[in-house]
Symmetry: D2
Subunit: 148 residues, 4 copies
């Protein structure tokens, strides 16, 4: 069994960062991914919900915002719920294992790690940044052993 999703898309809104009762950070994203242009067809995008946890959540909410391109890797999960009319529904969401920049520094609108002055104090422990001299970065998952 294997379940892998890799996407590059655009954030439709700012990531929403919340904290669970257990004190675990969660970021909720909504991403638009343009379909490849089919001959003679019109523009079409798909919109997906995605969720990131812990260090990934912090990394994303710190460095990505509405309108930015974001790369994500994770798995596709379903979640069963009951809507307000009492009907059983299934939600699809991408569980993010890793998020990464896909643009050069110039195009990303600044605020990336490594910029000075530092955008925030120190990077959260457990997240390292693939900070090339070219301004590409990458969040490394480090969320094991957490009681989640």
């Amino acid at each position: 069994m294997y379940n892998k999703v890799i996407m590059i898309g655009r954030l439709v809104a700012d990531p929403e960062l919340r904290t669970t009762p257990n004190g675990v950070n969660v970021a909720s994203l909504r991403i638009a991914v343009d379909r490849p242009y089919s001959k003679g067809g019109e523009r079409k995008s798909d919109f997906f919900n995605a969720v990131a946890w812990r260090q990934n959540a912090e990394f994303i909410s710190r460095y990505f915002s509405k309108g930015r391109l974001i790369g994500i890797e994770g798995s596709l999960q379903t979640r069963d719920y009951t809507d307000k009319e009492g009907n059983k529904r299934t939600a699809f969401e991408i569980q993010i294992d890793r998020a990464f920049f896909t643009e050069s520094k110039a195009s990303a609108g600044g605020g990336m790690p490594g910029d000075s002055p530092a955008p925030v104090s120190a990077p959260a422990a457990g997240v390292s940044y693939a900070s090339g001299s070219n301004g590409d970065f990458q969040a490394i998952d480090d969320d094991d052993d957490l009681p989640f």
Copy 2:
């Protein structure tokens, strides 16, 4: 923009092969993918719908059946529709670009390409099989007719 899904799961039912009014083959699949076992947790699987077209549809319906493991690669798409109560809904389905065997011959229950007698006349034009001596196979998109 990039949209990639790679999964290995188990067919919950036989693939359904239909033909569009234009004469294009379509196969609809329902696949169960077990989640990795989380320490102390119980079994959980996610169920996904997937769609394959043309040669991929023929390949899948010929060589895969209920209960078999299947590997698929494609993209995740949404489809908007209105349910019988008149509510707007969104369906999620995987558009399959490629399907492949993930098991050795022995485990796959026979009926693979290369078996004799041939399970069906000749392989559909446009699909080639990666038929290793070990019984692994792979559907290849026949993406050009260049003599290279």
Copy 3:
């Protein structure tokens, strides 16, 4: 059996476009991919050779140049050869099935499809561009001529 490579890296040199005796276009690339920054470590990049064929070769050589970020998807292959000293060697190269932009228009330095005036006459037949309103593009393998 399954063999998939997905990379985003930077072109170390302009793509080299050649034509085989059979008239098939081939593009050779060399790509630098920064490793994720490991805590306290220094910058490290890996360099890979990659090869694209036909429409993919034309697409890449038309829209990508030295210094640009490029996304590629394909498979990893080995090629045996004998070096000038007569020793047997193995070359590793990525066979590109698909190339895609990973940056917004602004950052890519212009010259993308959809720019006006058109950078070149018409897109090569068989390659379509996923030209989002945001200037993201994607080369699509034109893998069938079915009217679907």
Copy 4:
């Protein structure tokens, strides 16, 4: 920057498990991956070296052996070295982030986690098994915070 390799291949030899001077487990693998059969062509396989660390190394050396199919996910890296003739060479190897079974229990020759009696005491801490009712398993990486 992004560097992802996903492969399903066959182990050409038993994994070699060693321990670094720091006490970190490393497993070295050699994997054969059949190329898709191209019309009228003959069988061709590519052979790759791969390396797994810590829990991944233990998981692989415990549950995989020569001749078995294995799924791996990781990144492609190069390593520069000088051969015995004093020539500079580059080695290519896959750094494994995750390994997984791709076959049903029946075909894998037994000895999988969940079999009774247990093949080894308890699963190594930090590795969990995706043990579906059908005997599919998956190793989950858990190797952070190690002093490597």
